[in-house]
């Protein structure tokens, strides 16, 4: 239980005594006589740990001071066994937990090597074992991070050091790439090689230019060729007629050309820190480092076949929300700094998802971890960047940090962690340094708002979701006045759709009156009176509504939990009246009943869920009776909660869980029914997208769960059958979505009979564009899910092989041991 405890009882910090247990007795022993008390400080292993973990955090300390200090503290206490063992483990741990610090910890090792060369051997033994293990498991990020550490240790390695490892890795990449053009592991490996290389070049300057050039000649073929899957992950989806579509470059293609530039420039790599370099005045220290012994790198075995690992791999593209500014506030694409800094930050962000405060801290302090003068001073206002004289850097550390987070938030097909993690990192960064971060976010928001119409639709919705969630953490303050003109655009226009979606999402996180007070006058019109009501009107309270009396009767019966027969009777009455009026009887009675259930549950979600729970049999029967009736359930919900679509969506989600609704019903309602009634303008509505998207996520999530479930030996065939069934249901769902959307995209469904003027043609054009964007999202999702299934299939086969292997081994061992085991078994 101890390590579950937040109080950190095991850390050494005498000031934290007060947090210990109440029943803790005083462990200090008798107080020493006055004047003789001596403070020893914590033991060396504690001091080294603390200082190593905090390395480079303090900008006021010079790197070489800090590095030599820690290295000396370590080597001076070499006899401390606890320290010796812990040190190596801690260096390895820091490499994968706090990647920004790797060059610094490596410098400590390099310096310690001068006094205690054994430490490097200890480290290399463990490090190479880890690299081997991670390659085997396909945990490519860890491979990269450990290789980065190894690269920084290049000066103390014998022979060619890390190069043979990189070359062998490359050989695997070539095999994979020649085998399949859709291969992504090879791409990943090349990325790792290219990102490792710069660290070798700064750690051992001048020595390896030929080796590097050879390696880069080889990687060029893979890196410069655009990947077949690249369009799948392109964050932009410009219209055909777009005059300046935003450029989007493959990460490894970019890296290859950037490093080529560096090679031509003698590998200046001016952004990378070189904490192992000592000022010229420190002759002694420099000599020590020069003369330190070299070590043989233990061999790293790379398996013949490498695997994708736990995370699906896709080609990556470089994206920046600060592109095309008149002053460069982030490194330009031509400079390797853009890729190298981004890589280190993205790793930090994704590795530290379990402590967003620390992530934010690293982002704010990022200038501590790169070469001095790489960035402009912190919190320099954007306008002041113009005044900076040329040789000095205009890169704003805040922009670079924010850009890195957005690159993840807008990663396709999906970032490593839940989107809300990246929201929370931006929130914390904004809390830590509001004056510095907030203006950067503001410029990012403006860029995204301007460009969201040409962005991939899924990303545009991620932007919407982040924007509203972010504002909810900062009192809903935003300069809405600058977008005021867009309020007058038609609802189907993408920017107006964004505004409408944002207001709705803000209200969901807060309440209408509050949000109304945060926006300027023109926006307030968009927040209708209905949105300010806690509970919607009950349409049957009005006698003019058809079936008003019956509606009230059913509501009353539901409220006092009246017997089923009485409800049956009223429903019969509605149905016969409907037939008289030439209406669909089932649709009419379903509408009345569902509306009544919603009405008696209108107070809170708990109320409506309880009401659904009580009436679920009748609802299921209604849904099963006919397609039209099932669709009517959704229509009734969306109508009743039209002012609060968020509530409607949650109710629909629950009905899907009860299987009262099917995923197809939801899709049909949204993309055919509702879209038809609105002439396709429904496609511009954020909550309609959300409804379809959530439904798809639910279905694909279930399929993924089934596909990756470990095989139980018993129900093998049963499981396979269920899986097959769910997979084909998913495929069917995707084809329903695609055919509905294709109709909108081609404009076939558009009924131009009532021949309106230009405005209508214009909005139909926009509808087509929406359909195009929708289509791309769901086609991609279908592709990604298929890729997942293929990989899951492979994994199942591998697992089966392993299990059989083990079983065989066990059987063999069992036979051999049988006679020996017999005796003690009998005795027991």
């Amino acid at each position: 239980m101890a390590d579950y405890d937040r109080r950190g009882g095991s850390s050494y910090n005498p000031r934290k005594r007060r947090y210990r247990d109440d029943d803790d007795h005083d462990r200090r022993g008798p107080p020493p006589a006055y004047g003789r008390r001596r403070f020893d400080g914590p033991p060396p292993h504690v001091r080294v740990r603390k200082q190593l973990i905090a390395i480079a955090e303090n900008p006021m300390r010079s790197w070489h001071d800090e590095v030599t200090h820690i290295a000396n503290l370590f080597t001076d206490n070499w006899d401390d066994e606890l320290l010796r063992g812990n040190f190596v483990d801690l260096v390895l741990q820091l490499a994968v937990e706090q990647p920004l610090k790797t060059p610094f910890t490596a410098a400590v090792v390099l310096f310690a090597n001068a006094a205690r060369p054994q430490v490097v051997d200890m480290l290399l033994a463990k490090l190479t074992a880890r690299i081997e293990e991670k390659i085997g498991a396909g945990e490519w990020r860890d491979v990269k991070l450990y290789l980065k550490l190894l690269a920084c240790l290049q000066p103390c390695l014998e022979g060619e050091g890390v190069f043979p490892v990189l070359e062998e890795l490359f050989a695997r990449a070539v095999d994979l790439q020649t085998a399949s053009s859709e291969d992504t592991i090879g791409t990943e490996i090349v990325k790792i090689i290219l990102l490792t290389l710069p660290y070798v070049m700064v750690a051992a300057p001048g020595k390896w230019t030929q080796k590097a050039a050879d390696l880069m000649d080889k990687t060029d073929i893979i890196a410069s060729e655009p990947h077949t899957l690249q369009t799948l992950v392109d964050p932009y989806h410009p219209e055909p007629g777009d005059e300046s579509p935003p450029q989007c470059q493959s990460l490894i293609g970019l890296l290859q050309s950037q490093l080529q530039n560096e090679a031509n420039n003698g590998w200046a790599l001016s952004c990378l820190p070189r904490p192992w370099e000592f000022p010229l005045s420190e002759v002694e220290q420099r000599a020590k480092l020069e003369d330190a012994p070299k070590h043989a790198l233990p061999p790293i075995k790379i398996p013949e076949t490498v695997v994708t690992g736990p995370r699906p791999l896709f080609p990556e593209v470089y994206i920046s929300v600060y592109a095309n500014q008149d002053v460069e506030s982030v490194p330009p694409l031509s400079n390797a700094a853009s890729s190298l800094i981004r890589d280190a930050l993205v790793d930090t962000i994704n590795v530290l998802d379990y402590n967003r405060n620390v992530t934010a801290r690293h982002l704010i302090d990022l200038d501590c971890y790169f070469a001095p003068r790489t960035f402009a001073a912190r919190a320099t206002p954007f306008d002041k960047l113009r005044d900076i004289e040329p040789p000095k850097s205009t890169w704003k550390p805040e922009d670079v940090a924010v850009d890195a987070v957005f690159s993840q938030l807008f990663q396709l097909p999906a970032p490593e962690h839940k989107l809300v993690y990246y929201h929370s990192v931006l929130t914390e960064a904004c809390k830590l340094a509001p004056a510095a971060i907030a203006p950067s976010l503001g410029r990012a928001i403006r860029y995204l708002y301007r460009n969201s119409p040409r962005m991939d639709l899924e990303l545009a919705h991620r932007f919407l979701d982040w924007f509203t969630h972010h504002l909810s953490n900062f009192g809903f303050t935003w300069k809405w006045t600058e977008w005021v003109d867009d309020v007058y655009l038609p609802d189907v226009h993408p920017r107006k759709a964004f505004i409408l979606g944002a207001l709705d999402k803000e209200i969901r996180l807060s309440f209408a009156q509050r949000i109304k007070n945060t926006v300027p006058e023109p926006y307030r019109e968009l927040i209708t009176e209905e949105k300010e009501k806690d509970q919607p009107d009950f349409k049957f309270a009005n006698d003019d509504t058809p079936f008003a009396a019956e509606g009230r009767e059913i509501a009353a019966l539901l409220k006092r939990k009246g017997p089923d027969e009485e409800i049956d009777a009223v429903i019969q009455r509605i149905q016969s009246q409907a037939i008289d009026r030439d209406l669909d009887a089932l649709v009419a009675s379903t509408d009345v009943f569902v509306t009544c259930v919603l009405h008696i549950g209108s107070k809170t979600l708990s109320h409506v869920l309880a009401a659904i729970e009580r009436t679920k049999d009748r609802l299921a029967d209604a849904g099963a009776a006919s397609d039209a009736a099932r669709t009517q359930i959704i229509t009734a919900i969306m109508t009743y909660w039209s002012a609060h679509p968020g509530v409607a969506l949650k109710i629909i989600e629950k009905l899907l869980n009860y299987s009262i609704l099917t995923p197809e019903t939801v899709i049909q309602w949204a993309l055919t029914g509702f879209a038809g009634r609105t002439k396709g303008e429904a496609l511009a509505t954020a909550h309609v997208y959300e409804m379809v998207f959530n439904t798809v996520v639910k279905v694909t999530g279930r399929v993924r769960q089934l596909a990756s479930r470990p095989l139980s030996t018993m129900g093998d065939t049963d499981e396979a059958e269920t899986r097959e069934r769910e997979v084909s249901a998913m495929r069917a769902l995707f084809s329903v979505i695609q055919s509905a959307l294709t109709a909108w995209e081609s404009g076939k469904d558009v009924d131009m009979a009532d021949g309106e003027g230009n405005s209508d043609a214009e909005s139909q054009q926009m509808v087509k564009r929406w359909a195009e964007r929708w289509l791309r999202v769901f086609r991609r999702r279908a592709t990604v899910e298929e890729a997942f299934l293929v990989e899951a299939e492979r994994e199942r086969a591998r697992r089966k092989e392993r299990e059989e292997e083990e079983a065989r081994k066990k059987a063999e061992a069992g036979n051999a041991d049988a006679e020996v085991v017999d005796a003690p078994a009998a005795a027991a």
Binding site: Y4, R6, R356, N357, Y421, H469, N473, G475, L509, F511
Partner: protein
């Protein structure tokens, strides 16, 4: 259990609340069970950690006015919510500033601790804690006046949570009543 201690603290660990309560319970059992034949019986088997697979979170520091829908909206960002139980005033049956959110998976609950705990909902910083699971009765405040204990003697004025602590409010009201009563008395005598 988790391997070596990390270089960065994790945000998805439970507070000391449950381990503390458990220790107290154990100590009490130890004291009470001194005369039993085997006072160390429960030490023989390592205790199952009740939070190991927890899917429920206790959520605290909500405003009394925060609705279920708002909680859903925010907490769904970490995964589908299986069940939401609003904390209610024991007597008035109105929200009293806490709730239990139950997810379908343990991972969603951990992610919620990491990404949502300590952020704002309805413009208040909320607190999340892993919870072994909701049991009937826990939805009610355990303070004397029906709300949460922390709202009894709170000395700061918190508009979202009914102003001052209720016990303090009550005391002040009584004081005021007494004074008025005296005034009236005085008036009548005149």
């Amino acid at each position: 259990m988790r391997g070596p201690r990390g270089t960065v603290e994790r945000l998805d660990q439970p507070s000391a609340y449950f381990s503390r309560n458990k220790r107290r319970r154990l100590e009490k059992e130890n004291r009470d069970g001194e005369n039993n034949e085997d006072p160390n019986a429960h030490n023989d088997q390592p205790e199952e950690d009740p939070l190991k697979n927890a899917t429920t979170l206790y959520v605290g520091n909500l405003s009394f006015y925060t609705t279920e829908e708002q909680v859903y909206e925010l907490f769904s960002k970490c995964g589908e919510i299986k069940r939401l139980i609003m904390g209610l005033d024991r007597f008035q049956k109105t929200p009293c500033g806490f709730c239990f959110v139950e997810y379908y998976t343990h991972q969603d609950a951990l992610d919620c601790m990491k990404y949502i705990g300590g952020t704002k909902l309805d413009e208040r910083i909320i607190r999340t804690d892993l919870d072994p699971g909701f049991t009937e009765g826990r939805q009610y405040g355990r303070g004397k006046s029906g709300g949460q204990v922390r709202d009894e003697y709170r000395e700061d004025y918190d508009e979202g949570r009914g102003g001052l602590g209720r016990a303090l409010q009550l005391a002040r009201e009584r004081e005021r009543e007494n004074r008025q009563y005296n005034d009236d008395d005085y008036g009548r005598l005149k």
